[in-house]
């Protein structure tokens, strides 16, 4: 990876929401970076904080009473410290965002063209007719057929895939340097998903922007991401290149994610292994390693010691937050990748089996 200054560098970002039930630690000290022209995939279960982290980049959690600390350096400026007005000048201009459900994300009462024109004119002092020309051009760019006619359609007259294309067109209105896509394909049909991902890759090549793609779907990661950050319970537990995440993952949670999706090259009789338990409460997260209540490889002291994101030996761009020794992790993965169960892998490596999960809901992890 190049040594140049990354486009976006997030340092020890924490986002907390005070609620009646207590403080929700939605994002609990994460650090990552995005380089120009590259794609970072952030993967994790629902409620792992991946969306909150990205919304915070744009300051969209400010109105919800979030407490934000840490730094979000974009081209050297700390977005956390900017005023609302300064941040607004960046939002939709240098950094744009695409959301999950394109139908509910477009205003139902305004024509698609009008919404694009608004996006252009929010940051460019151009006439309405020039902005409209730009809107038609953008719709053409994202592959909407007959854009000069469809520009006057309402969102409900578009198909699901076209709506997401329109959302992407809106995000591209001011040629952003960074595009944040939050589950951009989750609400779409599988065939349309592939089209949208291909479109994003083409646009990235043509426009040279960096992309952060947030997803729970490792298939999407495999398709488009250059680098990957795996999030669990508000923390990043592993970062690596996309290749390495699939070939040599080192965090038990990443293993769990990989083992819980079907692939075509594994024998069909081999069962998928779901990750036991449920995501932990973010109000009262488990002590020590947040993943220990659900981790089959957890050792007694893992509920006490908090792991750091540390480089994996011999792989400077691969960081893992796991209390198991790197050498043990690699031996475990070698067993798992050939289809052994966690128990068999542990026996092979010579470690005791972690006690069964005491609280199946996973909610009382800290007390268990």
């Amino acid at each position: 990876m190049s040594a140049e200054e990354p486009l976006l560098r997030v340092e020890d970002l924490r986002v907390e929401f005070p609620t009646e039930d207590g403080i929700v630690h939605a994002v609990d000290g994460i650090t990552y970076q995005v380089h120009r022209g590259r794609t970072l995939g952030i993967v994790g279960e629902s409620g792992s904080g991946k969306t909150v982290a990205s919304m915070t980049t744009l300051g969209l959690t400010r109105g919800q009473g979030a407490h934000v600390s840490g730094r979000i350096l974009f081209e050297g400026r700390d977005l956390v410290a900017l005023s609302d007005r300064e941040l607004r000048a960046i939002r939709g201009n240098d950094i744009a965002m695409v959301f999950q459900d394109p139908l509910s994300s477009l205003h139902p009462f305004y024509r698609v063209g009008a919404q694009l024109v608004e996006a252009v004119r929010a940051h460019r002092d151009v006439s309405r007719s020039m902005a409209r020309e730009r809107a038609v051009e953008l719709l053409g760019l994202v592959g909407i057929p007959d854009p000069s006619r469809r520009v006057d359609d309402y969102p409900h007259e578009f198909s699901g895939g076209m709506r997401q294309r329109a959302m992407i067109a809106m995000a591209l209105a001011n040629e952003p340097k960074l595009l944040i896509a939050d589950e951009p394909t989750t609400a779409l049909d599988v065939t349309v998903q592939a089209q949208i991902l291909a479109l994003m890759e083409r646009l990235q090549r043509e426009l040279g922007m960096a992309i952060v793609i947030i997803t729970h779907d490792l298939g999407v990661i495999a398709e488009v991401a250059d680098d990957v950050a795996v999030m669990y319970a508000g923390r990043i537990v592993e970062t690596a290149s996309a290749e390495l995440i699939f070939s040599g993952p080192e965090h038990p949670y990443t293993w769990g994610l990989l083992k819980s999706i079907p692939t075509l090259d594994t024998p069909r009789e081999r069962e998928l292994v779901p990750i036991p338990g449920t995501p932990p409460s973010l109000i009262n997260p488990p002590s020590g390693c947040h993943f220990h209540p659900r981790c089959p490889y957890a050792q007694p002291d893992h509920s006490i010691i908090d792991p750091f994101l540390e480089p994996a030996p011999g792989e400077p761009d691969h960081h893992v937050a796991c209390l198991l020794a790197a050498e043990v992790r690699r031996r475990l993965w070698a067993q798992l990748r050939v289809g052994r169960t966690p128990a068999a892998a542990l026996a092979e490596v010579g470690l005791p089996l972690a006690p069964p999960i005491s609280d199946p809901s996973g909610l009382g992890g800290a007390r268990a």
Binding site: R91, F99, S105, H107, F109, A119
Partner: protein, 320 residues
Amino acid sequence: MTRYIIRRLLWGVLLLIIVSALLFVFFRILPTGDPAALRAGRLQNPKVIAAIRADLGLNKPLITQFWIYMKNLFLHFDLGYSYYSSASVKSLIFDRLPATISLVLGGAVIWVFSGLAVGIVSALRPRSRLDRGSMGGALVLVSAPEYWLGLILLYAFAADIGQIRIFPGANSYVGLTTDPVKWFTSLILPWLVLAAGNAAIYARLIRGSLIEVMGQDYIRTARAKGLSETRVVLRHGVRSAINPILTILALDIGVLLGSAVLVETVFDIPGIGRLNYDAITHADFPVVQGTVLVSALFIIVANILVDIAYAYLDPRVRYS
């Protein structure tokens, strides 16, 4: 769309016919007072009453009376003549309409704008002191009866009896064409009274509606575009939140045009509601029929207008 409107209009006409028939039945069958006797006044001898009865057609069989009544109504738009003043009901209603329209539309302008302003501000700062204060105030205004509020305001501000005489002519309505300035000043207090309760209701409605809309995904999109918060709220939030309120507004205006009787009475405004009220106390059936029919017409028209407006306000609505 055109076919839809035509269908709605035909339904409206049918509805009016049904209302007219019901009115006829009510007033002929329910024991109220003999109109001929009322009309005879002091000349209460059977001959005179019989003559009046024949003159009004009250001696004909009910079914014939009904036929004549419906024929006059729908073929000639003839609502008959007042038993009490002998004036044509149509002219009585047209004389009274300007006052009622002035009162209701003026009041509506006030309650819509004040209700919207308060509701929007409350919605943007839910549970703030401002929100709690204005919603509490709204509750008081909704609970205050119009006749009570009207009398209090007259006692406080009317030019003749008030403690602080700042509204000249508060209880002496003057037509717009007669003297626009006096028309305006005479209507300020009635407008405020009519608007008070409604403004409170509308503030609560728009508050609830806007709070819901501001949580929608497209509001997040608008913010992500980098729009100013004012633009996000007004162009994206209020634009959506206002739709259901416009529907209620049209119906409220339709209803009030026929039934603003309390405010009209307190401030002595010669409107439709007062006409209806006076006609009821005099057992003046033709006038009661006329005013009730006009009220029904307003409500039916308001309903049709709402449905048509909806297709323009919400592009997703398409009638077939």
